[in-house]
Amino acid sequence: MKQGNKKKSFQKSLKQAALSFASMMPMILSIVGLMGLFQAMVSRELLASLFTGDPVKDTLIGTVAGGIAVGQALVSYILGGELLEQGISIYAVTAFILAWVTLGIVQLPLEAEVLGLRFTIYRNILAFISTILVSIGTVWTIGVIG
């Protein structure tokens, strides 16, 4: 009897979770739609062409470009590898691959809706600053260690 009650209540939890998830489906579809648009409009070549060769400027550009770009993390590694071959600074490439996974301009509306606008703004500003600092710190540490 107890087993039956437990089973019933897990099914209830599952149903509750599925409904909660389903209610957010229009939002998720919107983000997926925006990502499709972005990938169709912004080519890898266009992203690569944004870099100037100046390490300071490129670190900022890398962070912004990575934050705007969407797609699998693996794509950022491949693109990052290509950028390094083109002579773009390792600071910029590190910022780019890190921002790719930690920042997401496209998903901001959904994050603000679910977790609050203020939290979203604070979190993304902190993630932006952290990305630049982590990139500089990583390359600097490797330089020191040799």
């Binding site: 897990f10 998830f21 739609g33 499709g36 990938q39 930690t102 902190l126 952290s130 990583t138 490797i142």
Partner: protein, 166 residues
């Protein structure tokens, strides 16, 4: 059930319509890209729903507050870091679960930590090593962990205990 984000979905639909009128070929590419992405997400959705259900079923809301709430301490940070590292799929797929946990007392700093720690992709680490070297990957990973915790602490400071970020 009340659907959320219908207005945003209408705007995105309108953008697709505009792209269709401007460049039909690009619109077709965008639809294909979005469909592929959605197909990949379909594999992750059931996992997230099951995780949400398991949390609701097994974890008492009061326990969520003690493990991940204001008084969670070191344990809370460790859980947020580990969950960030092992979680798969895009960030937005996890929003419904986080929303549920916030209702049960999850503190906002741990969300920031969870999100930033997600940049460590364990299955992709060997690929990162191949592209950028072992030393680079190791140091970057350590700094990401550190930055994740610092961000969480700062968010807690900024948002404060009087729920400024709600």
């Amino acid at each position: 059930m009340k659907f959320r984000g219908l207005r945003l979905l209408s705007v995105v639909g309108l953008l697709y319509l505009m792209l269709y009128l401007y460049d039909e070929g690009k619109m077709t590419i965008a639809v294909k890209k979005a469909s592929t992405l959605f197909g990949e997400l379909m594999l992750i959705f059931p996992l997230i729903i099951v995780v949400m259900a398991l949390i609701t079923y097994y974890v008492n809301p009061r326990k969520i507050a003690s493990h991940l709430g204001e008084e969670s301490g070191l344990k809370g940070w460790m859980i947020a870091l580990s969950a960030g590292i092992i979680s798969h799929g895009p960030m937005y797929a996890w929003y419904p679960m986080l929303e549920d946990l916030v209702k049960h007392g999850l503190k906002k700093g741990l969300i920031a930590t969870f999100f930033y720690a997600r940049s460590i992709k364990v299955p992709l680490l060997p690929i990162m090593v191949a592209y950028f070297g072992f030393g680079f990957t190791l140091i970057l990973t350590l700094y990401i962990l550190l930055a994740s915790v610092i961000q969480g602490l700062l968010i807690d400071q900024i948002c404060g205990r009087n729920k400024k970020c709600d």
